[in-house]
Symmetry: C2
Subunit: 267 residues, 2 copies
């Protein structure tokens, strides 16, 4: 079987049986790449730079990884390993999914450069598989596998979308080299031009009325997450009710009634 026949990195064996003992390892290379990317962004993690970080020659990395794209795949799986899903499923699906969503978001925010990588699925990486087992295991007793996949699409979509927005914003601030308030000041000519044109009533409403934007990012995320979890709850049979109602502790109690069709501007 030639190199080209491996459909992805997880099918290519890391270690050969013959030849000299390798000095480095995939894990070591991946770790170095994450270190550099955390400090300076993923585009700074070039093959030369990673090699220098571990004291190797530039071309030596290609003994361990067929291409930079494959290395990025190793990195992506390595990051998924950071999401703590130990002890899941616990029996309380809502607590499990909340912990997963919070952990996933925290991981993305620790490594915001990950947004430049797509490669959603399916890559068969060990950490991705672990995540699938633990997280989908939370709803598995209550719904069919198809329903579970659908609900996961909604949950993951929400988390990813929300975090991408947070990261885009942070990136914009970093790229411009401005502080958040300085950025606002610089943008205000355009904003006022739009407001005064009268052509953008919704935009104007967002700028002048939205209170959500003044909440902490954590609160914004949690409120949106509660909404998604309520949607999931609505799709579950009644036998899947949580063991107690204490599972929402740590979140605003006003949200307990969300999803029932009320309209107060709670967010």
């Amino acid at each position: 079987m030639t190199d080209a026949e491996y459909v992805n990195i997880w099918m290519r064996p890391e270690r050969p049986t013959r030849g000299p003992k390798p000095v480095y390892s995939r894990a070591q290379i991946t770790e170095a790449a994450v270190r550099i990317a955390d400090a300076e962004g993923l585009e700074a993690a070039t093959m030369r730079r990673i090699a220098a970080e571990i004291g190797a020659g530039a071309m030596s990395l290609y003994r361990y990884v067929p291409s930079r794209d494959d290395l990025v795949e190793l990195i992506a799986d390595r990051l998924q390993g950071e999401v703590d899903v130990e002890g899941m499923p616990s029996g309380d699906w809502r607590a499990d999914l909340t912990r997963y969503a919070d952990g996933l978001r925290a991981m993305w925010l620790r490594h915001p450069w990950i947004v430049t990588v797509q490669r959603s699925l399916p890559s068969f990486g060990p950490n991705q598989l672990r995540l699938i087992e633990r997280v989908m295991g939370a709803l598995d007793p209550h719904v069919s596998i198809d329903e579970n996949l659908g609900l996961m699409a909604m949950l993951n979509g929400y988390v990813e979308g929300a975090v991408r927005e947070e990261i885009s914003w942070a990136e914009e601030v970093r790229r411009s080299g401005l502080s958040e308030s300085e950025w606002m000041v610089r943008s205000s000519p355009r904003v006022h031009q739009l407001l005064e044109s009268g052509d953008y009533p919704i935009f104007s409403k967002i700028v002048t009325e939205a209170r959500r934007l003044h909440l902490s990012r954590d609160d914004q995320f949690r409120h949106g997450l509660q909404r998604v979890l309520d949607c999931i709850a609505a799709a579950l049979p009644s036998t899947a009710e949580p063991p107690t109602s204490a599972h929402r502790e740590g979140y605003s109690p006003t949200l307990a009634t969300r999803g029932a069709g009320f309209t107060r501007p709670a967010m």
Copy 2:
């Protein structure tokens, strides 16, 4: 005001008052870039290549656009202009949001290379603003602006997540140069290894039981979208009920009861 003071491309005037008439334009450059990216991917749309496409010298583009990143922003907004939201809001929010979601997905699938661009918000591009006005206008009569933003986060998150998955898959097939079934054959050693280890019951369930994966991509998307729209409906006051129940035409009638807590494996 120096160049560096413009916080983004939309605040920098395209046309000066003095000097020779420019031969090209931002719109022309953007159009050429989209054409190349559609044919060969965004990474093929290099400054040199775009310049050659319109018959200009490589460095001429920098008279129109400060950097490639800014050009990408122009491109992103240009693509948002492709989403047809004419006549929105129509008064039937569910029809409007369905049309928006379908149109957004179709646009992404026409230009799958935009997955490599993040830059979610806020960029003040004219087409993005138009989209905000039309789409959020659908729910604006029924909910607060904060609630609207929250529901949009959920909707956009779902659409983007679903489409990213479709695109990743297509990209994987393209990159490997294999047909879809050939890819399956090549992956089967890994899949069987995972199945036989017994460590991945959920993964096994997905592989062996999930029927969703055998549906057309259109149907998968539409079913998930109906779920999201049902969640939105649940968050609206009862006065926002649709004018007739015919709004779900074109979709599976079994979905009309979704979100009410049933568990049959409908997907």
